[in-house]
Amino acid sequence: MAPRTPGADLPEHPDWLWRSPDPKSSYDVVIVGGGGHGLATAYYLAVNHGITNIAVLEGGWLAGGNMARNTTIIRSNYLWDESAGLYEHSLKLWEGLEEALDYPLLFSQRGVLNLAHSLQEVRDSVRRVEANKLNGVDAEWLDPAQVAEICPILNTSEDLRYPVLGATWQPRAGIAKHDHVAWGFARALDRMGVDLVQNCQVTGFERVGDRIVGVETTRGPIRAGKVALAAAGQTSVLADELGLRLPIQSHPLQALVSELLEPVHPTVVMSNSVHVYVSQAHKGELVLGAGIDSYNSYGQRGAFHTIEREMTAAVELFPMFARAHVLRTWAGVVDVTPDASAIMGRTPFDGLYVNCGWGTGGFKATPGVGWCYAHTIAHDEPHPLNAPFNLERFTTGALVDEHGAAGVAH
């Protein structure tokens, strides 16, 4: 393959995609948080349910939270039926999203390898492949030679401390350009008359008994027929205002990028055991991530030793990375639940809906979340795909335990 100029695939930087209106005094639906989830939810409220009198309130700048900080891996090879249902619905939406939004998202279905390094992991992975097939998710089990064919730069020799014993392969998985996803939704929303209000921090709620009728914000009170939270790692802070307890813990999750390199890395590679995940961005940076820092934090920074461990794993798996320079590192604040699955649905307060607990993996769910959450808000009951992800499951015991099964550790 002839070398390509890094960045040649990138479209021109857009000029101006949405208005910046002052908030009105009331809306049918107020969405708290202008990340991918908030934007996608507003989009499907408008497109699927004809509700356009909506404000998306963003405390900072549009999509500057985890949306701007994630490693953009999209896949649907989850073990349990509930998860496969939701993430596969999302992946199908990704496959038509560029056309629907009429905007380049650089959605690249370059596939994902989830490596196995122990006999137990081999068994779990083969089981997950079979479960995926039963759920209509594309998946294959590959031996080390087949893995090397797909990703030649990966070290598949036997003399690693944790040799690659094989991998699951989902060809339809991939990455997308996160900023463009947000901008594509924002442009479509603006055209449909939805207000995207930035620098508008929600600080509390207005309630009449157990009904939520509006929000308090740094730009004054705003009344709302319905209020939908999409505030990712900050959800506990908002819920505390109502005395509403949620089973989430907010942790830093870090990522890093290298300098720009020629295309060397053809797919997405994830390893749960040595714990690193890496892909090569469209421009040419290697994008790397790993697990959360252990402690709770809202500080949007983590510790250096976490990065060090991730780099150790990366260099062992990809010896050629030893020569790449790290350009920058950063962290987001992610909300982790006890069963590693999201919480989406109604709350004990009428007119208040919650979407949180996506932890380290909610980017891939962006269109699927929007679709199901919009349904939940419009009909006041969950869509069948998000019904299992209710808050009550922590009391009933019907957990959706995706730890490990998801192929990624928190």
Binding site: Y298, F394, T396
Partner: protein, 92 residues
């Protein structure tokens, strides 16, 4: 990187420690009487404040003892109080 004050060994680098989540969560006094909702809260619900948080750390690579630290989850500042610097009187 946190500098964590072990009450027995003094301040040490975070890599020597294991995190144990929220401190001062007590086991229900009368388990058979606890409702499903209260069990759920005991098992799955923890405080998640933006601010001071009482949390458990174990000095895994040192004395291997558990102790409580009050840390600000925004600034990472650790409060020296509760006799946390005095070995023996630290709440377990």
């Amino acid at each position: 990187m946190l500098l964590i004050p072990c009450p027995w060994c003094g301040p040490r680098n975070e890599i020597e420690f294991h995190y144990g989540g929220q401190a001062e969560v007590s086991y229900p006094a009368d388990p058979p009487e606890v409702s499903d909702v209260d069990w759920a809260h005991f098992l799955f619900y923890r405080a998640n404040p933006r601010g001071v948080f009482a949390e458990r750390w174990s000095h895994q690579a040192g004395c291997r003892r558990w102790f409580t630290v009050r840390r600000n989850t925004v600034t990472n500042e650790i409060q020296a109080e509760d006799g946390a610097s005095e070995a023996g009187v630290v709440p377990r």
